[in-house]
């Protein structure tokens, strides 16, 4: 997938899942699969979640743009139920995330490994407007490192979620975060959680192995 360069827009436009920026971006259809039950980190989760129950959302479409300063993704998927609130012990919110390698060679299937961090940009419907920047170095090690740099906005309409996740391409942080530069090629992955089915944590749909992400170079005049 190519993250198209879009200049001359303010950040708010990029963050609007229905803005013309996204209408003019070619989205890539991605088949999703449930995370394997056998890889869930605890026995209680493995017995409660056999493979057949995991991965309610089987396809998403993803587009990406950058303006030289911010990189943004728009994830869109079909979802009959809008789960925006967690107001009961049994309710879970819809969520989506983009995963990027913080360092070359970080494995995606195990959500990183010690010393090989991955960086998730996470949005959950009950926290709409603010995203989470998450770092992981292996299954069960995710931690939110900030709730400022990643912005997530979701709109649910006509049985579809359209969610934008954006972050400054380069960030100053002592944490192992993905640092992005126009013209670079990196990998990305997508995950979606269906709240109405109780999906949370490692119970989700994901896009499989790293997918290629090419960040368009800046136009000559902007270099």
């Amino acid at each position: 997938m190519k993250a198209r360069y879009v200049g001359g827009h303010d950040l708010q436009t990029l963050l609007d899942p229905e803005s013309t920026v996204w209408q003019h971006s070619r989205a890539e259809a991605i088949r999703m699969m449930g995370t394997p039950s056998g890889m869930q980190p605890t026995a209680a989760i493995r017995v409660a979640w056999p493979d057949a129950r995991i991965g309610a959302i089987d396809r998403v479409s993803v587009a990406s743009v950058h303006d030289g300063r911010h990189l943004a993704f728009r994830i869109e998927w079909k979802d009959e139920s809008e789960n925006r609130t967690i107001d009961d012990t049994t309710s879970f919110a819809d969520a989506a995330a983009v995963l990027l390698p913080s360092v070359k060679g970080a494995p995606i299937i195990t959500m990183g490994a010690p010393g090989l961090a991955v960086n998730a940009w996470y949005w959950r419907a009950d926290e709409d407007g603010s995203g989470r920047q998450v770092v992981a170095e292996g299954i069960g090690t995710t931690r939110t490192v900030d709730r400022k740099l990643v912005v997530g906005r979701g709109i649910w309409k006509d049985g579809r979620w359209r969610v934008v996740l954006a972050r400054p391409m380069r960030v100053e942080s002592p944490e192992p975060l993905a640092q992005l530069h126009p013209g670079d090629t990196t990998g990305f992955g997508v995950a979606v959680w269906e709240g109405s089915r109780g999906e949370r944590a490692g119970i989700k749909s994901f896009s499989g192995d790293w997918r290629k992400l090419q960040l368009a170079a800046l136009p000559q005049a902007r270099r």
Binding site: T42, A43, A44, R46, A48, I86, T89, T90, R200, A201
Partner: protein
């Protein structure tokens, strides 16, 4: 998983519990007054036989079977009884106190945390019931701890108290599913799971748990399981009259119960019938397993001794002549301590 070096425990004597809920309120006032905690009762007292809190919790699974994790269900807020809203404003401040009465606002509730109080079981003249107070069991083999994918739950090395780290917790509620006693609550404001903390800030200052210290019936004994001078060791290990609830759940609880003995039955002529117990053995076995029958025998034997004018060390211990002896050394007066609440 590192094993705890020592284990704090509680024994509750069901023969002394009068169902007054002072323990429940002591806990509520101390720990669960914040937003999102309205429906929480880390300590609950229910009438048995009964559906309990949350409603029908014994049918919700969790825990272990033959050593393997068993799937569990999430109770809803309604199952817990939720928090009812009342028209306090109207009755107390609206100038209508002589016309309107206190009533639940909104939808009429169909369950509460103590909904089936005193219904019990059996038929007149042999009806029976008893009260079953419950807190987190601070299990030796905690299903909650093992279920958490974030390792947000830990068991303290020094005393075996099981705690949820709210900074690590992401509100996934696998612990709530896994706990077979359904003693974990979800705070829908903070979006984290919360539960009984065995009053560890008090314990660390030598003060017994609020539910134990406030109990007017002297029901609750506190202390280390391995302290031969303390009440827990004596009741659990030595006399073997205090046993865990639902041992078949496989979590090895550290709350133990002295089983209840009701008055004798009447036969059809109205004479005492001591051929069987008023609280049916099968009911108690369904709760505590077959060890309850041995515990009852010991209790009945010692009661017979005192009835005959003899002395029973066990009965003296259970009567708790010296209130402070119930707390295994955790008998400091909380009023002598300056407490600070952390932000």
């Amino acid at each position: 998983m590192a094993e705890s070096k020592r284990q704090l425990a509680m024994v509750m004597d069901l023969n002394k519990c009068i169902g007054c809920q002072t323990c429940t309120i002591a806990c509520k006032r101390l720990w669960t007054r914040d937003e999102g905690m309205e429906y929480m009762w880390w300590n609950s007292v229910n009438t048995m036989p009964g559906r309990g809190t949350p409603r029908d919790w014994e049918q919700m699974g969790g825990g272990f079977r033959d050593g393997s994790a068993r799937p569990g269900k999430l109770p809803t807020r309604r199952d817990f009884g939720d928090a009812w809203e009342f028209n306090h404003q109207e009755v107390f401040y609206g100038g209508k106190g002589d016309k309107v009465h206190l009533k639940v606002q909104g939808e009429e509730p169909d369950w509460g945390p103590n909904w089936d109080e005193d219904q019990g079981g059996g038929e007149y003249p042999n009806a029976y019931y008893f009260y079953l107070p419950r807190i987190c069991n601070h299990c030796t083999h905690p299903a909650c701890l093992e279920a958490c994918p974030r390792r947000a739950i830990s068991k303290r090395e020094q005393d075996g108290i099981v705690l949820i780290d709210e900074d690590r917790c992401r509100g996934y509620r696998f612990c709530m599913e896994a706990c077979p006693y359904k003693k974990i609550y979800f705070n829908h404001q903070k979006k984290v799971s919360q539960k009984c903390i065995f009053c560890f800030p008090r314990i660390e200052q030598g003060v017994a748990n609020a539910c134990a210290r406030q109990c007017p019936g002297r029901v609750r004994f506190v202390g280390y399981r391995d302290d031969p001078d303390g009440p827990i060791w004596k009741l659990v290990e030595h006399w073997k009259v205090a046993i865990p609830l639902h041992p078949e759940y496989g979590t090895e609880p550290n709350v133990f119960y002295v089983p209840p003995i009701a008055p004798p039955r009447f036969d059809e002529q109205g004479n005492l019938d001591e051929s069987s117990r008023r609280i049916p053995d099968e009911h108690l076995v369904s709760l505590f397993g077959t060890p309850v029958l041995d515990a009852l025998k010991v209790l009945e034997g010692e009661m017979a001794k005192t009835r005959g004018g003899g002395k029973s060390e066990l009965m003296d211990l259970l009567i708790a002549y010296q209130w402070k002896d119930m707390f295994g050394g955790f008998d400091r007066d909380p009023a002598t301590i300056e407490w600070e609440r952390e932000a």
